[in-house]
Structures are given as structure tokens and as C-alpha cells.
Symmetry: C2
Subunit: 459 residues, 2 copies
């Protein structure tokens, strides 16, 4: 062998079967987004580092892939003394661009940059890969797709309802049974207020966000370490695990939070949202989950997370309302709400639960056998006619190798019909079609090849 043919760790090649399955997921998501009136945008893979740095915390900055400046970048950097320079200082000197880390920050940048052309409320979706220099492990990659849908420039709770409808529609079309968990950062802030720990709100939400990973003891330990008082932690427990249906929980919360203006605001928002949800009959189960916190600090209102019912795998979709995302780029007072579907986890769940539609999507309908140069003209004539038919995929085996080998190829490739256009067939003006799954053979007239083949394919 010559040069190594490996690819960078954490990245993947997608072969035809994976691609067709991935496109199946993306097509459904895209169609649902369009149906609900969202329009596509795309942003470049590379963003200026000034756009990306400082938006994902210190850890996130480290996980950004940075792109080396072009040309003789050292001479351009006006600093030749690199003796004893640190990696960090050198990076600043020789990189200006990075690969996007998510679709949220590029979207915020997009909205600010194009605000003069955009008609608000702006309903957009974006399906593109993102890159993170994370340590690769099962289900975690360095290149992966996100499917984001957001509406920006409206603070109506109707948008939250619409997103829940979108989630319901996407997963229902994909066939994934699911629970949509909803909470509100205002309720969490209200709880922190009545516990007199509003200064440690971020610490509390970050701890609660880990509930699934580290259990309630772990959450309590982390809050304690961050300085949350034992009294507050004790008082928090029964609130986090309030029992009953959503209405009951909201009723109890109203009582608990009666002295917190922001908390009551959160409860009222949830009441409105659930009043909308109750107008529809959804396949998804929607429930208020007070332990849902979402780690990201830019969420300011409703937060949403989706789990598969039939397989434990972390969330398939998540998001929430952000009141001030674009302010990092200087545009204040623009509220938005959105969710992001994780294509890789959805793929894994569908694979595990065997939810992809059967074979038939990825194969070719018809393969003509190649009998060699004497007969090929007749095959090519027939095939060229067939190519004019919409929705039929067809080809000729390109080389006149042994018929047995050609049939083996057709088998491996899951070809539906093999067509024989030999000397005999040419004389009679027909083509023999063999249905591979049954072995049944039929004659098709070349004069009516499209019609006859369509009939065959329906049978």
C-alpha cells in the first residue's frame, strides 16, 4: 500500500446505505420545517474567531478547530521572535478563522449582519455540520450535523407551541415515540429566589442539569460545594419532585412561588403554553419537568428537551427561549426561541429500534445485462428510452463479463429487476425482465417499454 488512507479521528465517511438513511431523516425534518413556515439559510463553515471565541465558555474555546492563516503568515504577523512562545500566544498570532461549533452563534451573527434585509419575526432553519475538537467516543464525533429551527423577533408563546408541534410532527413521521419535557428558566429563577440563593442561580441550574448523569445526591453535593446553603438544598427537594399532572404541578408552584414576581411569570407562561397544547392531540407526551434545567446560560424562558420512550440515549432534541442572544453582536432586545435536532442520536435510535423503512429506497430499479458489443446497441436503445421515464432508475452493466458475475452484482446491489436484451429479444422486439426477489420473468415490448415496466414495477 502507498500513502495512509485514514481520516482524522472523530470524523466519518458515509457510504450509500448510511447516506440514504441520513437523507431520509434530513428530508423529513426539512419538510416539516417548511410546512410550519420556516425558511432555510446556510452560513459558512469558517467564521472569524472574533465571532466564535468567548461564546461557549473557556472549555468551548479550547474545542474550536482553528484554521491557520494563509500564505507566509509569520511574516504577516509582524512578530518573528517566537522563542519561548506558548501555544496560546502563537495561536492568536497565526489564526483568524475557526470552524463553526454550533449553528446558534452563526445564526445570531447572521441576524445582526443581515438585520436590514430580514423581515421580523424571522423563521429560519439551518441543517449543517458543526465541528468540535472533543475527545471522540461512542456517539460523539468531531464532525456532526445539527438541525436548528428558530423564530427570532417575537416573544409570543405561540412560537413555543409551534415548536412543540414541529417536534411532535418530526418524531411522529420518523416513528420515534417520545416525551417532550418542558420547563421554564423563570420558574427555576423564582425557586432560587424563594430559597434566597438567586446569586447562585447558574450554579444551581448547572447542578440540576446533571441530574440524570450523577443522580440527586450528586446534584446536592455539587450545590453544597458551590456554597448553596443546606437549608436551601433541603427546601429544594420537594419542589424538584412535585407530583401530579402538569396542572396540579403548576397550581402548587403558584403557591410556592407567590413571593417571586419572576417565578409567577414563569408559571403563567407555562399555563398559557399548556392551554395551547391542550387544543391539539399530539402523539408526543408533553410534560412539565422541574428538573429540566439546560446547561446553557443564554436561555431565559421556556426550555425544551425530547427523549425517546423506547431507548435511553440522552436527548434527541433540545432548545428554549433566549431573550438576548444577538446582544453579543450588539443588537439588543430581540427575543427568540428555537430547538436543535441531533441527527446522529436520531440516527442511532432509529437504527437500534429498526425504524428505517425497508430496503428499496437505496437500490436501483433495473440493470440491463451486458452481452457484449453485438447486442449492446439494442440494450442501450431500450435503456435510453427508459431513462426518459420519471422515477425509474436504470443502468446497463458496463462490461461484458460472465453473466453469472453480472447477476451476482445485481444481487449484491439489491437491484429489483434484471433486464435481458439479447439477440432473440431483439428479433421479437421485446426485453425479458427478471424480478430478482421472486425469479419471475416477463416480456416487455420495447415499443411500450415505459408503460410495460411501470406495470411490472407495480405488481
Amino acid at each position: 500500500m502507498g500513502v495512509s488512507t485514514s481520516i482524522p479521528k472523530g470524523t466519518r465517511d458515509f457510504g450509500p446505505v448510511e447516506m440514504i438513511r441520513r437523507n431520509y431523516i434530513f428530508d423529513i425534518i426539512r419538510t416539516v420545517f417548511r410546512k410550519y413556515g420556516y425558511l432555510p439559510i446556510e452560513t459558512p463553515a469558517m467564521e472569524n474567531l472574533t465571532t466564535l471565541l468567548g461564546k461557549y465558555g473557556e472549555e468551548g474555546d479550547k474545542l474550536l478547530f482553528k484554521v491557520l492563516n494563509s500564505g507566509d503568515y509569520l511574516s504577516k504577523s509582524n512578530q518573528h521572535n517566537l522563542e519561548n512562545i506558548t501555544s496560546g500566544a502563537l495561536t492568536q498570532l497565526i489564526t483568524k478563522k475557526g470552524l463553526r461549533y454550533d449553528l446558534t452563534v452563526p445564526f445570531a451573527r447572521y441576524v445582526v449582519q443581515h438585520r436590514a434585509e430580514i423581515t421580523f419575526p424571522f423563521k429560519r432553519f439551518q441543517i449543517q455540520p458543526v465541528w468540535r475538537a472533543d475527545n471522540p467516543q461512542k456517539g460523539r464525533y468531531r464532525e456532526f450535523y445539527q438541525c436548528d429551527v428558530d423564530v427570532i423577533g417575537s416573544d409570543s408563546l405561540f412560537n413555543e407551541y409551534e415548536l412543540i408541534q414541529i417536534i411532535n410532527c418530526v418524531f411522529s413521521e420518523l416513528g420515534i415515540r417520545n416525551i417532550i419535557k418542558v420547563n421554564n428558566r423563570k420558574i427555576l429563577l423564582g425557586i432560587a429566589e424563594i430559597l434566597k440563593e438567586d446569586k447562585r442561580f447558574i450554579d444551581i441550574t448547572k447542578a440540576i442539569d446533571k441530574l440524570e448523569k450523577i443522580g440527586i445526591e450528586g446534584v446536592n453535593r455539587e450545590m453544597e460545594q458551590k456554597g448553596v446553603s443546606g437549608n436551601a438544598i433541603d427546601k429544594l427537594q420537594p419542589i424538584l419532585f412535585l407530583e401530579g399532572d402538569t396542572n396540579t404541578k403548576l397550581g402548587k408552584l403558584k403557591e410556592i412561588l407567590k413571593n417571586s414576581v419572576i417565578g409567577i411569570e414563569g408559571v403563567k407562561e407555562m399555563e398559557t403554553l399548556f392551554s395551547y397544547i391542550n387544543l391539539a392531540s399530539l402523539k408526543s407526551i408533553v410534560e412539565l419537568d422541574l428538573t429540566l434545567a439546560r446547561g446553557l446560560n443564554y436561555y431565559t424562558g421556556a426550555i425544551i428537551e425530547v427523549k425517546a420512550t423506547d431507548h435511553q440515549i440522552g436527548s434527541l432534541c433540545g432548545g428554549g427561549r433566549y431573550d438576548d442572544l444577538t446582544s453579543i453582536f450588539g443588537l439588543k432586545g430581540v427575543s427568540g426561541v428555537g430547538v436543535s435536532f441531533g441527527a446522529e442520536r436520531i440516527y442511532d435510535v432509529m437504527q437500534i429500534l429498526d425504524l428505517f423503512p425497508g430496503k428499496g429506497e437505496e437500490n436501483v430499479d433495473i440493470m440491463f445485462v451486458n452481452f457484449g458489443s453485438n447486442e449492446e446497441c439494442y440494450s442501450i436503445k431500450a435503456l435510453t428510452k427508459l431513462w426518459k421515464a420519471k422515477g425509474i432508475s436504470a443502468g446497463l452493466y458496463p462490461d461484458p463479463i460472465k453473466i453469472k458475475k453480472q447477476m451476482a452484482y445485481a444481487n449484491t446491489m439489491n437491484i429489483s429487476f434484471v433486464a435481458f436484451a439479447g439477440e432473440d429479444e431483439e428479433k421479437k422486439g421485446v426485453i425479458t425482465f427478471k424480478k430478482m426477489v421472486s425469479g419471475d420473468e416477463s416480456k416487455v415490448r420495447i415499443s411500450n417499454i415505459i408503460g410495460d415496466v411501470r406495470k411490472l414495477m407495480k405488481d
Copy 2:
């Protein structure tokens, strides 16, 4: 304003209108590729630099975007003495990955890496962005899409015919009138042989490749500078500009090249290919163009290039046969042939010739007016019913702002119908639909909203 919101030079944001037009092009190309039996693959944006370097010439190496190693890369590089280091030496020390420069080299890498799983002949297509640190100028970007279609593992000329059919089909569906120019590197090599300049074959083809840019005088001057004899240059002129139709040209070439084995082989290949082409009636004009050379050295047989008839813009698609592409990764003797469609140029031609389908693709079908919290339940009920209908896109204006402003929004967004579900309508169990283009109003029954709306949309 806060932080700058610019993006790296040579890159672009795509807004909804551009996206829908770009997807229109990609969808047609993808559907045609599938119809002809080609299957999708995708490769990672980043490849190891060992895969990319040395494949695109010295100039190409410079145009690769290189990605900085992660973490404390200097300490990992085992070399702390960076004093007086050059940019080139430093790059070797601190980068291992680069962004893909085209789809051909990653495809060759893919074929070699996955050769055990692949059933040959392997018919694949790939539609992904590529990155080049070229100087941006009109129509030339640092991030742009390529749409490659190749069959590898077969040397049958039927594959070339199939690609010409694909080209014909794609441009016919897009509505772009075009000429497919075909030539054969073996014919060019034969010509070099009979001119006794086969050692300068690459110089000759590189010069001829510039014909359009620098004219025949320029080409001759360049050949002279490269050491091609005056006698050879003189003899070349009438051959390059042979007159007559393809058959006539091939006949004359047979005579001219009778002493070149490889040249006659090229002529015979073209005879076979044109005998296939003559079986079909194509919208594209296909012609043998002896001045077509294609700069890339890996082409060994047929070469193909497509030009728009109605607008001069360089080639919209190009490619050819390569007999040994995978040998750079250690897999020898695998012949392939493929073409690449340039999405950006196709977009530009379609824009200039006004070939995109009219508005109607990018807009939302229905927008409910928001009358405020008293009426919103009725609107949401109606909308929620409508969302169950396949192929209808609909929404509610999320905020109860002035009706006039909501109507202005509907106008700007090219919404087809505005729906009014007010108090009056609720009493009667109807919704008023206003067709925006005509101003016509109709009542729709909420009990049969989907059927009634479908009827409205058809009118």
C-alpha cells in the same frame, strides 16, 4: 454595535431565496444521479494533510486551508526552538489536517480505504462544499459546492455515454441550453507523438487548455517557450482546427494518426462513444473538440466539458477518464470516469438567463392573522387542523400587533393566503381566506378546513 459581524473573505451567507434556488439545482442534480443508478456518499470536511498534500501541484498545496492541531500543540510537537522558523516549517510542526480541496482526491482515498466493502463497478455521487484559499473575485469563492458523479472499476465506454446522458438530463431539466465538448487525451497524445513532441505532451496540453483565455497566438507562444519546435507548432495548427462534423473529423484524424498506436486507440474510442450517442436524441449538442485539453494530468482517455449556449461563463461541468487515480493511495489498475458539476456557475447562469421557476416555491401558503388572546384559540384550533394536511405550509402571526402591520408582513413574505379567524367567523364556524395576489375573499368551513383550503389553493 458590539463585535464585528463580518465573515471570512470569499465565504458567503445564503438567505432563504438563495437557499431555495440552490436547493432547486441540487435536487435536480441529485435526482438525475439517482435515476442513472449512482449512489450518494459523503466524506469529512477535514482530511489528513498526508492525503491532500502533493495532489494538486505546488500551487494547490498553498491553497489548502490547514487546521491547527488541538490542545497545547507546541509541547506535543517536541520542538520548542521556534527562533527563525519559517512559516512552512512551522506549519509542518503544528498542523496535521486540512479542509478538502475537491471531491476527487477524497473519493480516491475513500475507494482505497473501503475497497473491501465496495462492489465494483462503484457508481457514486457526492455533493459537498470544498475550500480553497484562492484570491476571491467575481464568481470565485473560498467555499463552494461541487457535485461529482463517477463510476470506478470499469473501463467500458458505455460509462462515458451514461455521463453524457446525465449531463444532457441535468441541463435539460434546469433549462440551460448547452454544448458538450468531448475529446480524448489519447488523441492528443497521438498528435504529440506524430509531431515528435510526446516528451512535451503535458506542456502542449497545458498550453492548449488556455486557448480560450489567451487565443491561439498565446498558445503557440507558450508552446514555443516550453521548447516545442516551430515545425511541430506549424503542423499542429490544421489538426487543432479540423473542420466538418464529428465523423469527418474522426476520419481525417485516422489518416493523420495512422502511425500512432495510442492515437488510433483514441480515435476508435471516440467512434464507439459517438455510435452510442447517435442512438439517442439529446437536447445537448455533443461535439468533438480537438482544442479541448483539460489541465489536469490524471486524465488518460475521454475528456468532457460543458458550456452554456446562451451565456459565456466558462465551463459548467467537466471531467474525464482517469486510469490510475487510486494508485496515489496504493491501489493500482482501477479505471474510472466522472464529471463534476459546478453549482456556483450553474446558479449564476440560471440567474442571468432568468431560468429559476417563479416565486411560489419559497413562500408560505397561509398566514393566520393574530387578533389577540380572545380570538387566538380559534385560530390555533384551525391552524392545528391544517398542519395535519400534507404539502400545505401555514402559520399564525405570533404577536397581536396592528392588522395593517401583519398584512404588510404577509405581503413582504409573499404569503399566498391570509386567514382571518375572528369572533364573527368563530360564531359561524368559518374562516375567511384572502388570496393576496387578487384580494379575493372566500369562507372556508372549519369542519372541512383541509378539503376547502385545498380547493382554494387549486383555483
